[in-house]
Structures are given as structure tokens and as C-alpha cells.
Symmetry: C2
Subunit: 341 residues, 2 copies
Amino acid sequence: MTETAPRPTLEAVAARAGVSRATVSRVVNGGDGVREPLVERVRRAVEELGYVPNQAARSLVTRRHDAVAVVIAEPETRVFADPFFALQLRGISKELTAHDNQLVLLLTEGRDDHARVARYLAGGHVDGALVFSLHLDDPLPGLIRGAGIPTVFGGRPGWHDGDEGVVFVDSDNRGGAREAVRHLAGLGRTRIAHITGPLDQTSAADRLQGFRDVRGDADPRLVVESDFTPGGGERAMRELLARRPDVDAVFAANDLAASGALRVLREQGRRVPEDVAVVGFDDMLPVAEGTDPQLTTVRQDIEEMGRIMARLLLRRLDPSGTDDPPAGVVLPTTLVRRASA
Amino acid sequence: MTETAPRPTLEAVAARAGVSRATVSRVVNGGDGVREPLVERVRRAVEELGYVPNQAARSLVTRRHDAVAVVIAEPETRVFADPFFALQLRGISKELTAHDNQLVLLLTEGRDDHARVARYLAGGHVDGALVFSLHLDDPLPGLIRGAGIPTVFGGRPGWHDGDEGVVFVDSDNRGGAREAVRHLAGLGRTRIAHITGPLDQTSAADRLQGFRDVRGDADPRLVVESDFTPGGGERAMRELLARRPDVDAVFAANDLAASGALRVLREQGRRVPEDVAVVGFDDMLPVAEGTDPQLTTVRQDIEEMGRIMARLLLRRLDPSGTDDPPAGVVLPTTLVRRASA
DNA sequence: CCCACACGCGAGAGCGCTCTCACCTCCCCC
DNA sequence: GGGGGAGGTGAGAGCGCTCTCGCGTGTGGG
């Protein structure tokens, strides 16, 4: 079983095809500058021997790995409660695969891991990194920049010193929030509340900002800080109903919180959307379509976001490319109207 | 930016410490057989120079990569609708990290990718593979076995020729289903229905089998085939109510389907659990806790499953270990009682 | 006091590949 | 018909590391 079959080397292929190693190498790497009959002979030898290049040997000399690290910080919280990162990974994977790059996944758990990740990235195992760091005070972005490896961030990172050149991809959290709130206003609602996410995350902060853009003059009691979870949404909704029993609309910072709010509203006998209209954020399908009534929410194209991150990184990695990547890309969101508002 | 700082080599460290390359190598790899003062000198030189071993060079000679591939087949369907794989990945990642192994993620999309994955695995980039393949007729397991690389499967794979030696880790789907159905029976329910998952997946087939173990004599009309989605759960529930309006309990093959069933029951004015008791499977938190009433369901420890898969693989990879890993590990499930049954 | 042996350390080969450079052919043009 | 060039091919060095082997030093026993 552990019988490692002696894999054929370039040398072996060369011998079989009756050419030099250099020629085989040329053929294997695209075949420019080799005459057709030889190409054919080499191809056949490769085929017959089942030759596969040794990546380690190749990397040793080229100093390329055709591999990209994806760093996901602090998965304990939000990450694994929803398909967000899975979708993102899928987008990233597709793009990387299309360009023959591998995806090395680095999940970090707490501060201890930071050093490990930094060391790995600095260790030259990968050509670049895609980093998801949700928290404003996360030291990881700084560490990674120190590693001196091309990096693209997922989500707007918190601002640190010397962050001007940071490349990131984010959804238009602020614009999406504005659209959600305007939709509620357009329904004639006048007492629109906002259940926020954890405000140490840029996405939550940006959504709150969007809410304020439209309802800057709102009663401060209509804004309740929460945590992106159903339980948190429930608590926030109860608080809201206690503070302002006349509330007639809620914009929750994500679908999970909205689902909690919905449950409290029903429990308290408020009809949705007749008495209170509810809008979520994310369009996390199993949740948004699973609530009763189904949730009106703001959709972000997560998979596309992943794809663009990968594309941006690959562009920076490509030595041939004209090197002027945008610093940040903000993807549009769309309002998905279902039954709750 | 692309200014690749010339990374220090073993040679450089050796020169600085005034020893030979061999000695530095020994120290870096554990330091056995090197006297303390020298170890100290080398350590300092490493520190000062910020030396990090070149993994490519090392792999070239050791033929080890300290990297494991995680292959997830057909992510289009179930995979990305729920946190299942994310949790699994987390478990895997933790275990691999603890043993200084890297995780290379391979997501496949349709048949074309199979060849790519097989080539990659056969290409000797990784030491082993963890493979998730849900479908009975998936050709991937066969291809991978052909690649001759140590592999552990997640979930019981469908049976192919020569599968005796397959190592896999799975939840006790059958036992969990039995427990769910017995719980319903213990509640005094006599007309217990089952909404299945897609029966070409072993997990769904095993859950059905568990149902049959307890209710082998049930009216066949009480079993409706479905697809693990909320929409599918809705359709199945409607069908069920049409066939047997007197149904008083439903065991849905997963939480998503259960959430759909719940919605139909409410819509049709059946009280849960009074009129109809409902049990799900998975304990997918955002769903199970997000339904109304909250879902009684069968929990599987997904993260642990990932961890065990990784552990099993690492054990097979470890040349020093006494080599007798179990062929299959089946993890217990537990019934989580909430409001729906 | 000398020999045997173990242990610590260095020299050097070689892992499989790419890439430069020199050579050799063949063709075109004067 | 000969010289120059372009393009195709091979030889060989070297990427950074590990590992075997042999030598030198220190220790214990006869």
C-alpha cells in the first residue's frame, strides 16, 4: 500500500523519447520552440510513462508555487454559522482552479495562531494570500502585511497605520442598508428601527452607517445593538418593543437576527408585514426562505466576491500583467422582496 | 513590492553560526545529536537571519509535503447550503495544524474536475487525502483509489468493486434515525411518517434504513422521498397530508426539510407538536433554533468527525506508527429535544 | 597508558527540475 | 555558392535542502 511507485522523472521521459531533458521540459511547459515531430514523440513518452512533473523540484527553481493561501480568522463566531465562507470559498476555488492555482486553507483560532499563520505566509509556501478578518482590532492584517506577500482582503478591513495601499473586496454594505431602509420608508413606515450587528465588525458598522444615512434623525431608541445571531435578534426585538411599542418597521443587520426578530413579533401577536415590516441582510437562503413569512432581504453575491478576490490577487501575481490593480472593489447589493416587507 | 527579499538559506545560517550546513539542518529538525552550545549558536543565527526553511527544497529530498488534500465533490448541492462542511473543515484544520500539516482544498464541480483532482492527487503534491463524496455513483472514490494515495473518506462511500479496505468516518445515521423514530413512538405516536433525503446519498439511505428498522411494517404511503431542501420538505409534507391526513408524527431526514414541513403544517392549521410531532436530523443550529417551534433533532458532532478523519489519515501517514488503522469509524448521534416533538 | 567504541560534526552527493548558453543545422539573401 | 542569421536542440550548472558516510574527539575499560 505505502509502496510508493517510483515516479518517472524528466530524465526517464527524455531517454524514452530520445531527446534531452531540456526539450522535454519545454514540451511539458507549453512546447514553444520545439518542432512538431519532437513534440509528438515527447508527448507520447509522457503519456506512456504517466509522467507528472515534480512540483517541489519545479518550485525550487522557479520560486513559484501556483498556490494561494486563504486565511480565515476567528472561525468560531459567524463564519461557521452560515454558508458565507463556503460560498466565498467556492468562488475563490473556481477562479484559482481556472488558473491552475491551488488553495491552501488556513483557519485561525485565537491569537496563538496568528504567529503561525504569519510564519507560514512569510515562509514562501504560497505566492499570495486572501484574508478574511472581520474585526476592527484584528492584528492579523498587520502581521500579514509584515510578511511581505501579495494580499487581498475580503471585507473592508479596519484601518491601521499605513493601510492606504490595502487591496480589498467588499459588498456595498452601506448602500445596501440604505436601500433596505428606503424600501421600508417607501412602504410608508415612519418608525423604522435597526438591529445592528457587532459594531466591531466593519460590515455591521457600515450597515449602521447606511441606516443613518437615511434616518439620521431617528429616535436613538430605535437603534439596538446586537450580534448577528437569532438569539440576539430576539433580545433586540424585545428591547425594541419595550422602548417603542409603536415601531412599524425593522431593518435587521443580517438574516439570522431578522429570524429571531420575526419569532418575537409573532409571539407578541404583531403581524408581519402588516403591523411591522422586516428586512434582513445577506439573503442567506436556508434562513431567508425558511422564515415565516419569508424574508425580504438585501442580497450580496458572495460567490462573486470570492471570485473577484482571487482574480485581483492573481493579477497582482502575474508578472506579465500591467500592474495597476484597484485598491478596493465594492460590489453592489440588490434588494430581494419576499413577504416580510 | 514584488521586491522578493533574498531569503536566507541554510548555507547562510551555517556561515553565521560557524558550523556546517548539516549541523544547522539537524538543529532545525529537532536538534538531536548536536551539543548544547552549538544548538544555541545555530538557534541564534536562525533568529537573527529570520531563517525559514524552503519547503520545496525539503520536499524534493524527503518526498514528504506535510500537506493533505481535502476533496469536496459536487459542492453545488447540499454542501454550501449548510455549515456542514465548514464545521468539518474546522475539525480537520485543527487536527492538521496540531501536527504541522497544511490543508489543500479541492472543490470539484462536475465530472470534468474529477480528472483534474485525480491528476493532482497522483501528482504527489500532498501526502494524503480526505474525501467527501456523497453520491453512490460518484466515480471519484474509484479514481482516487487509483491514484494510490492514502485516503480517508467522509461519510460512508457507496460500494464499488474492491472497496473492502476503504477507510471512512461517518455518523451513525441509521442509529440516529432509529432513536428519532423511537422517540416519536415513545410519545405515543402511531402514524409516523418519514421524509427522506435523496436516496442516492448514503446518509439519506441509512436514515431511511433506520426508520425501517423501527417501523418496517409502516404503511408505505408514510414514506415520501425528498431532497434535503426546505422546498422539498414542503412538497413532501403536502403529499403526506394528502395521502394520510391522520399522520401524527414526521421524521424528516434533515433539518432543512423539517423546516419546510413545519411551515406547511402551520399553514394547514396543524399544531406542532400537539397534532403532529416533528423531528429533524443534523442539528444545524441556525435552522433548528430558527424554526417555530424550535426543532427536536438528531445531532451529529460534525467537527469531531472532521477531526477523526484527519487523525486517521495522519496515523496512516506516520511511518513510525504501528500500522493498523480501523477501516471505518461510526460516530454516535444524540437526540436533542426541543419544542417540536 | 593504550585501545576500542560511541558520539558529534563536516564533506559531498544528489533529489528533479528550469534556464542559460553554446552549438548546430538549415534557409535566405547577396 | 558562400556568409549570416534565425531558430531548434543539448549540455550543464544550480535551486536549497537532507542524509549517508567518514573522520575526529572524548570516554571508559582492560
